[in-house]
């Protein structure tokens, strides 16, 4: 059976990179009710999740 961890890992890695990129490029870009750079933090979380999935998938294959 095809290992789903590879495409999911890839998806969240790319998504994390996009969000981190947006967060770093425009830290002043904020939503009305928060001052945090949520794109950067959420992007880092997704990058970490995607990285772990990729690592698990690649280690097996």
């Amino acid at each position: 059976m095809w290992d789903l961890r590879l495409p999911s890992g890839l998806f969240f890695t790319v998504l994390g990179l996009i969000l981190c990129g947006v967060g770093l490029a425009g830290p002043a870009q904020q939503a009305p009710l928060t001052e945090a750079n949520v794109n950067l933090y959420a992007g880092a979380g997704m990058l970490a999740f995607g990285g772990v999935m990729l690592w698990l998938g690649l280690r097996r294959s």
Partner: protein
């Protein structure tokens, strides 16, 4: 709410991945069983996450967040009492029969256990209900996107339905389940930041508790009387109606979820599927209900957040999207909306794949054309994907035109569903239950549900025969309709079964408790891989949550 280019990029990336997964899996489909049942080959971690994702439709996410804002933490009953006990029961006690009987669908189990008419009754009502519910949720999604993003209803409906159609057509159940796992991750990772940000802004759980009436942050403390809580329910109706009849009726007999467990690669995996799924399920309230409660606290704080008014209250259905607009900047906003689309797609794909199997095996092969080569049934399965999606789209437009018809249909399906669990309970655990008993029990239960609705009134609904009783809320009415329907089905099935001839016990092996040798635990399995141990852990964790948020 306006989207930036990066938001559209994220939506496009998600579409590319789900279609890519469907494209990749199409190579694995060589027979009708590959397409419709995944040929029992899917590993546990995928079946369990698909099991829960297929149930997490967009309406559930939007509705649960709205209920969180309207009723507070009592909404968590839909998870902690309304799902987990039933998920434990189906895994430990029922899955040995679903999986061990080698039935390809839940209605097929009914044919093996009872007879053709009971199977057909279940198959036809289930098939109609899947089309209807995916149409309704498509309508809800189209309307929401129209309202908050200004997208055209037709474009939202056709695009999202078209993508689900493409990947289920290509890879069948396996493709739908693989995508459901990706969708599950996206829903969790897309909604979790919202929960953290909203709760943090509202001053944490303590800040929320101090700003809202106490009943908003307790699950059981105000259920002693229907007048003490905004849901208008009391503890008996809640436990028996929601916790027993409705919850067990859904999680233990609805093919949409059971199908995911039946696709597992071994009996132990099939049994563990709902048990593993129960772990994320009991934590979902923290990412959908708690933000709704935080939204109400934010409204008290005058920080610039408010829900649009509707009637004498608020338009609670917009809680989730207004929170997203308040806390998510461009980028994460794209992820949040994609997560919403993902939840819609996982729910719709669940409906489509369940409809495919039931139509192809239980209705088409059972009644229209028996004994055709397998290639033919594979073709019928694929064709059903297209026709089913088309019918769902038509239902979405019908819902847009005639909202009342939809309410009526929903009500009628509720009547049909309410008694189902009694049939399965007696079928699996009482060898004396007969086909005539099961069928008449189902009919009697459905009639009893309709009768209860006709004789009771709640929020201006029901009492179309006479008004014998009035419930404080439609929710309480629904719980009691379910209790009456279940009891009627249970009693009539027993009475008619005792009056009719049972099947010989030799025909009931692998179908009924007491005659079937239950699967022994796998010798090399660790303790946490055994269904019994897993059930205890999940049960205790759920109990602790109930006590913690009493």
């Amino acid at each position: 709410m306006t989207l930036a280019a990066v938001d559209y990029l994220i939506i496009a990336l998600y579409f590319a991945f789900v279609l890519g997964i469907g494209w990749r899996i199409r190579q694995r489909v060589a027979s009708s069983e590959d397409f419709l049942t995944s040929s029992r080959s899917v590993p546990l971690w995928i079946t369990s996450l698909a099991f829960i994702a297929a149930n997490m439709g967009a309406q559930e996410m939007i509705g649960m967040c709205a209920s969180g804002a309207k009723y507070g933490l009592m909404t968590a009953h839909f998870y902690w009492i309304g799902a987990i006990p039933a998920m434990i029961f189906v895994g430990v006690f029922m899955m040995p029969f679903y999986y061990g009987s080698r039935a390809r669908s839940v209605p097929e189990y009914l044919r093996l256990r009872f007879d053709e008419k009971t199977r057909t009754f279940n198959a036809v009502t289930f098939a109609a209900m899947t089309v209807f519910s995916s149409g309704i949720s498509m309508y809800a999604l189209g309307r929401l996107f129209q309202l908050v993003l200004g997208w055209s209803f037709t474009a939202s409906v056709l695009l999202s339905a078209g993508i689900v159609l493409a990947y289920t057509y290509l890879g069948g159940l396996t493709s739908a389940m693989y995508n459901e796992v990706l969708q599950f991750f996206l829903i969790v990772l897309g909604f979790t930041p919202l929960a953290i940000l909203a709760v943090h802004r509202a001053g944490g759980w303590e800040g929320i508790s101090s700003r809202l009436p106490e009943m908003m942050t307790h699950s059981w403390a105000y259920t002693r009387s229907p007048s003490a809580n905004p849901m208008g329910v009391e503890v008996f109706g809640l436990v028996m109606g929601l916790g027993f009849v409705l919850s067990f009726g859904y999680w233990c007999t609805d093919f949409l979820v059971v199908q995911r467990a039946m696709a597992a690669n071994s009996m132990t995996s099939a049994r563990n599927t709902p048990l593993v799924a129960a772990v994320p399920k009991m934590l979902i309230p923290f990412i959908v209900i708690v933000p709704g409660i935080a939204a109400m606290a934010l409204m008290q704080m005058n920080v610039g957040y408010s829900l649009p008014p509707k009637g004498s209250g608020y338009d609670y259905d917009l809680t989730l999207t207004t929170l997203m607009a308040s806390f998510y900047p461009s980028g994460l906003l794209g992820v949040g909306l994609t997560a919403l689309m993902a939840s819609f797609m996982s729910g719709m794909a669940g409906n489509v794949t369940a409809l495919n199997t039931v139509w192809t095996y239980d209705i088409y092969q059972g009644h229209i054309r028996k004994g055709a080569p397998d290639r033919h049934y594979l073709m019928v399965g694929r064709l059903t994907t297209v026709v089913g999606t088309g019918l769902s789209i038509a239902t979405a437009y019908l819902a847009q035109l005639y909202n009342n018809i939809m309410d009526l249909l929903q009500l009628v399906f509720g009547f049909v569903n309410a008694p189902l669990f009694a049939t399965f309970l007696l079928g699996m655990f009482w060898r004396r239950a007969t086909g005539h008993g099961a069928f008449s029990g189902l009919v009697a239960g459905t009639a009893a549900a309709a009768l209860t609705h006709g004789l009771t009134l709640a929020e201006g609904k029901g009492a179309w025969i006479a008004r014998l009783h009035e419930f404080p809320s439609t929710m309480a009415q629904n719980f009691w309709i379910a209790i009456v329907a279940w009891t009627a089905c249970f009693l009539v099935t027993i009475i008619v079964s005792l009056l009719t001839r049972p099947r010989p016990e030799s025909e009931l092996v692998n179908l009924v408790y007491g005659i079937t040798r239950l699967p022994p635990p796998e010798p090399r399995a660790r303790w946490y891989q055994r269904p019994g141990a897993l059930a205890v852990v999940v049960g205790v964790a759920c109990l602790l949550l109930n006590v913690w948020f009493w």
